[in-house]
C-alpha cells in the first residue's frame, strides 16, 4: 500500500483522530466532566448562601453576590480544565503511548498540541454553558447573543493561554505526580488572588496589585460585563491600582498574554516533539 503525499487534509485527519480519542476517554470516564460542572455549582450555592444576608448594594453594580460570583466560576472552571490538560499528555509520555504518535508520519506534530486545545476548549464551553444555565435558573441572569460572544471569545483566549502552559509543564516535569502537585499549588491561590470572589476595592493594597495583574482577572471582568443588560466594551471594568481598565483593555491584555505564551512554548514543543 503506497502512502499518499502530504496534503492539508492530513492535518485535519490526524487532529480529528487525536481529539476523538480524548472524547472517547471522556465518554467512558465522564467523572472529570461531571466534577468540573459540579464543583462550581456547589461553590455557587455555598458562596451565594454565605453572602445572602449581606447589605444590599454592598457590591457596586450587581443585585446579589450570586450575580457577581457567576463570572468568576465560569472562568475558574475553564481555568481548572485547561490547567489539567497536560495530564493526558503526561500519561502518554509515562506509559510510552506518545512514542506511538511520534513514530507515525504525522504531517505536523503540532496536531498533538492542537487536539488538546480543541478538546479543552469544547469541554470548557460545555461546562460553562451548563453553569450559565444553572445560574439563570437561580435567577442570576443570562447574557444576550453579544454577551455570549464575549464569554466564548474570552474563554478561548484563557484556555489557549493556560493549556499552552500546562502542555509545557507536561513535557518539563518528570512525572504526573509533580504535575498534579503543581496544579494543586497554583489552582486555588490564583482564584483567590483574582476578582472572582471579591472586587479589588475589598482587597488590601498588596492583594489588589496581585489581582490586577492576574490573568484570571482579565478573563473574569469581560465575562462580568457580558452579563450586563447594556454591554459597552469601553466602560471601566476594573479599577486597578495602576489605572482603570475597560473590558476591551482586559481582552486585549489576555490576547497579548496568550500570544506571548504560545510563542514562548514553541521552542520547547519543537524540541520535545521533533
Amino acid at each position: 500500500m503506497e502512502l499518499q503525499q502530504y496534503s492539508p487534509y492530513f492535518l485535519f485527519q490526524e487532529t480529528y483522530a487525536l481529539t476523538k480519542r480524548l472524547f472517547i476517554q471522556l465518554k467512558r470516564r465522564p467523572s472529570t466532566l461531571f466534577a468540573g460542572i459540579l464543583q462550581p455549582i456547589i461553590w455557587l450555592f455555598l458562596f451565594g448562601a454565605l453572602f445572602s444576608n449581606a447589605p444590599k448594594n454592598f457590591l457596586p453594580g450587581v443585585d446579589s453576590y450570586g450575580n457577581f460570583l457567576g463570572a468568576g466560576l465560569i472562568v475558574f472552571t475553564a481555568f481548572s480544565g485547561a490547567l489539567n490538560s497536560g495530564l493526558p499528555l503526561m500519561f502518554d509520555r509515562e506509559f510510552g503511548f506518545l512514542n506511538r504518535l511520534l513514530v507515525a508520519p504525522l504531517s505536523s506534530r503540532l496536531s498533538i498540541v492542537l487536539s488538546s486545545f480543541l478538546y479543552i476548549t469544547i469541554l470548557s464551553f460545555v461546562q460553562s454553558l451548563v453553569i450559565m444555565f444553572i445560574s439563570f435558573l437561580l435567577g442570576y441572569g443570562f447574557p444576550n447573543i453579544f454577551g455570549l460572544g464575549i464569554v466564548f471569545a474570552t474563554l478561548i483566549l484563557l484556555v489557549l493561554f493556560v493549556t499552552s502552559i500546562s502542555l509545557c509543564l507536561a513535557f518539563v516535569l518528570p512525572g504526573h505526580i509533580e504535575l498534579i502537585a503543581l496544579i494543586f499549588v497554583i489552582n486555588l491561590p490564583l482564584l483567590f488572588s483574582s476578582t472572582a470572589l471579591a472586587p479589588i476595592s475589598f482587597m488590601p493594597n498588596w492583594l489588589g496589585w496581585i489581582a490586577s495583574i492576574n490573568p484570571l482577572t482579565f478573563a473574569i471582568e469581560p465575562i462580568r460585563t457580558a452579563y450586563a443588560s447594556q454591554i459597552n466594551l469601553d466602560l471601566v471594568a476594573l479599577n486597578a491600582p495602576y489605572g482603570d481598565l475597560t473590558c476591551r483593555n482586559c481582552i486585549s491584555l489576555l490576547f497579548i498574554l496568550t500570544i506571548t505564551s504560545l510563542l514562548a512554548i514553541r521552542p520547547l514543543l519543537n524540541k520535545k516533539l521533533n
Binding site: 483522530a17 480519542r21 510510552g96 513514530v103 507515525a104 508520519p105 516533539l273
Partner: protein, 338 residues
C-alpha cells in the same frame, strides 16, 4: 542489496555508552535478528532506527534515504513495535487500530479493509471490540503488532516481541513473521531468545556492550565454531577452583580447544573437540589421575549461545544476570521519556 546501512553509529546516555561505533548492513526482504543480553544496546539501536531518538554520531540510510535528515520520510516506510506495549486501555482494539490508521493517513475504505484483514490474520475477532485494558499480555502484543502492520510498512521493527508471551501467542507471532518474510517485508527483530533468532532470522548480529561481536547467518556463525560442542561436569555443582583445575587438564589433551567455564550451569566446562579425534579415552585417564570422575558429558551441535559464549567468555544468561545488577531501570525509563 544493502537496504539498510548503519555506519559508525554511537549513542551515549549520562554515564553509559549505549552504542559504540556500530556498523551493520541489512538486506532487503531479510529477517534480521539482533541478539544480545538486556542492556546490550538493542533497544537504543531500534529506537534510532524508528526515529524516536537521534544518535550522537554516525549515519543510517534506509533505501538510500538519510534517516537523520529525513525522519518523516522514514516514518512512512517503517512499522515499529516497541518492547513496552503502550495501548490506550480505554479504547477498544478496533478503535485503537482505527486511530492508528488515521495517524498514517489511510483512506477510509482501505482502512476498514486492512483492519478486518489483520483482525482475521492475528485471530483477534473474539475480543477486538473489548477495551484494551481487559487484554492479556498475548492479546496486547497481537494488537500492538497489528498497529505496526496497518500501513504495510517496508520495514517492520520489533523490539523483543515475544517476551513473556504464552506459547499460543508466540507461535501466532512466529507464523506471522514468517509469512511477512515470504511477502518480501524486511524485518528487524531484537530478542534475547536464542531459539527465536535461530529459527526465524536470515542474518543475525550479536551485540554486547553496544558493540558488534559477530554477524552472519545463524548457520555460518555456528559452523565457524567448528568441531563438536562438549559440556563436561565432574559433579552436579562445581566451583571456581575445580573448574580451573579441569581447564588445565583439558589444555593438555590434543584435539580439545576453546575451553570456557560456564558459570550459570554450575561451573560446567564447555569445549570444542575436533571431529574424528578420540579425546575421550585420554580425558578419562587424565581425570582419573587427578582423582576426578565424569558426572556428565554431553555432546551437541553448536548453538548461537555457543557463539556468544565463545566471543564474550560468558553465556547470555550470565550477561543478563550481570547487567541486571548494573541497570537503573527507573533512570532508563526517565531517559526514554521525551
Amino acid at each position: 542489496m544493502n537496504y539498510i546501512q548503519i555506519k559508525n553509529l554511537s549513542k551515549s546516555y549520562p554515564n553509559v555508552s549505549a552504542l559504540n561505533n556500530l556498523n551493520i548492513t541489512i538486506e532487503k526482504g531479510n529477517l534480521f535478528g539482533i541478539l544480545g543480553p538486556n542492556g546490550a544496546g538493542k533497544t537504543t539501536l531500534l529506537k534510532i532506527l524508528s526515529t524516536l531518538i537521534a544518535p550522537d554520531s554516525g549515519e543510517v540510510y534506509l533505501n538510500k534515504i538519510d534517516l537523520i535528515k529525513k525522519p518523516r520520510e522514514i516514518r512512512k516506510l517503517i512499522g515499529y513495535v516497541a518492547q513496552e506495549i503502550a495501548l490506550d486501555k480505554i479504547l477498544t482494539g478496533r478503535e485503537l487500530l482505527d486511530f492508528q490508521a488515521d495517524l498514517y493517513h489511510m483512506e477510509k475504505s482501505k482502512k476498514i479493509e486492512r483492519i478486518e484483514f489483520l483482525i482475521n490474520q492475528l485471530d483477534m475477532i473474539d475480543w477486538i471490540d473489548k477495551q484494551c485494558g481487559t487484554y492479556s499480555g498475548g492479546m496486547k502484543r497481537r494488537i500492538d503488532l497489528a498497529a505496526g502492520l496497518l500501513h504495510i510498512p517496508k520495514v517492520l521493527i520489533l523490539d523483543e516481541p515475544t517476551v513473556g508471551l504464552d506459547i499460543e501467542s508466540r507461535n501466532i507471532i512466529w507464523e506471522l513473521l514468517e509469512s511477512l518474510k515470504r511477502d518480501g517485508m524486511t524485518i528487524i527483530l531484537s530478542s534475547h531468545y536464542l531459539d527465536e533468532i535461530d529459527k526465524l532470522a536470515d542474518n543475525v548480529v550479536i551485540i554486547d556492550g553496544g558493540k558488534v561481536i559477530d554477524q552472519g547467518t545463524p548457520f555460518n556463525l555456528k559452523s565457524k565454531l567448528g568441531g563438536e560442542r562438549i559440556s563436561l561436569k565432574v559433579q552436579e555443582f562445581s566451583n571456581y577452583e575445580e573448574s580451573e583445575k579441569l581447564k588445565e587438564i583439558l589444555l593438555k589433551i590434543d584435539g580439545i580447544s576453546q575451553i570456557v567455564v560456564n558459570k550459570s550451569q554450575g561451573y560446567s566446562i564447555n569445549f570444542v573437540a575436533d571431529k574424528g579425534k578420540d579425546f575421550l579415552s585420554k580425558l578419562k585417564v587424565e581425570l582419573a589421575f587427578c582423582k576426578f570422575e565424569i558426572f556428565s558429558l554431553t555432546q551437541s551441535q553448536p548453538s548461537l549461545d555457543d557463539v556468544y559464549l565463545q566471543a564474550t567468555g560468558k553465556t547470555l544468561q550470565d550477561a543478563e544476570i550481570m547487567m541486571a545488577g548494573k541497570r537503573d531501570l527507573k533512570k532508563e525509563s526517565k531517559q526514554s521519556m521525551r
